[in-house]
């Protein structure tokens, strides 16, 4: 069982353009919403401890129908809390994952790291930790992961 996700992308762009997409109202609104959803940023307080509040509205016909059938409003609000803000380099935030049926909400930590490469590209690394917690991370480093591998084998 993995509890960490890592994504890596490279773009021919300036650090500023990439950073702005993560940290400005118009930037966030231009890509954040999943397909069929529009995002409106309602509050953006870019500093450690500050919050990003946004509304996600179903706009695609399929998504609208899905939300309606599920008895959910077409617009839902979400919030992330920034944990680290180093302009053009690092952006950390925590998002409370409260949408897993039957599982108590828990924090998911996200870290975006930007590196400029010699070829004029920006390398972007996104790390998502579903169990953001020092204790957990330490145990993972100590081979906890392999223990959970055994768990899978044991229980499957």
């Amino acid at each position: 069982m993995t509890k960490q996700l890592t994504f890596e992308r490279s773009y021919r762009a300036s650090l500023k353009d990439v950073w702005d997409l993560w940290t400005t109202k118009s930037g966030i609104e231009s890509w954040w919403g999943p397909g069929g959803f529009a995002v409106t940023v309602r509050k953006l307080d870019l500093r450690p401890g500050g919050e990003l509040l946004y509304a996600m509205t179903a706009v695609g016909p399929e998504q609208v129908a899905f939300m309606r059938d599920a008895g959910m409003p077409v617009t839902t609000e979400a919030r992330v809390t920034y944990t680290e803000v180093v302009p053009l380099q690092r952006l950390g935030y925590v998002h409370v994952a409260d949408f897993i049926p039957g599982v108590a909400p828990y924090d998911v930590a996200h870290l975006v790291e930007l590196h400029s490469s010699a070829r004029g590209e920006v390398r972007m690394v996104l790390t998502i930790d579903a169990m953001h917690d020092d204790e957990w991370t330490e145990r993972a480093a100590a081979g906890w992961e392999s223990e959970l591998g055994k768990l899978d084998a044991l229980l499957s």
Binding site: F7, L21, V103, Y106, V108, D152, L155
Partner: protein, 107 residues
């Protein structure tokens, strides 16, 4: 949920076998009341199940909840892959718009 060190330890101890509360208490640094409380939390969240054997209450792990967590991670991965595709497109659009503006202003 599992980020609590004591709960994590309980899961660890239950990896191999089902255990009675007393077994767990003997291997942990916290008192029985604490172990019972964490077991109750884990049970409520569906990570652990209890069965009574005589006067003993035996606890074991529930695979389905752990699998659900895995599935959730898979879904989250998909969400982010799609989101990062949009990110790349938004970035390109931004650059294209700027290039157009530049071209217009130099014409």
């Amino acid at each position: 949920m599992l980020s609590d060190p004591n709960r994590l330890q309980i899961v660890e101890l239950l990896l191999g076998d089902e255990h009675a509360v007393n077994d767990l208490v003997a291997r942990m640094a916290i008192h029985q009341s604490g172990v019972s409380r964490h077991l109750r939390i884990l049970e409520e969240a569906g990570f652990v199940r209890m069965r009574a054997a005589g006067s003993k209450r035996l606890y074991s792990l529930r695979a389905d909840r752990f699998r659900e967590l895995d599935e959730w991670l898979d879904r989250y991965r998909e969400l982010w892959n799609a989101r990062l595709d949009s990110f790349g497109e938004a970035l390109e659009q931004k650059q294209r718009r700027r290039a157009q503006k530049r071209r217009r202003s130099t014409q």
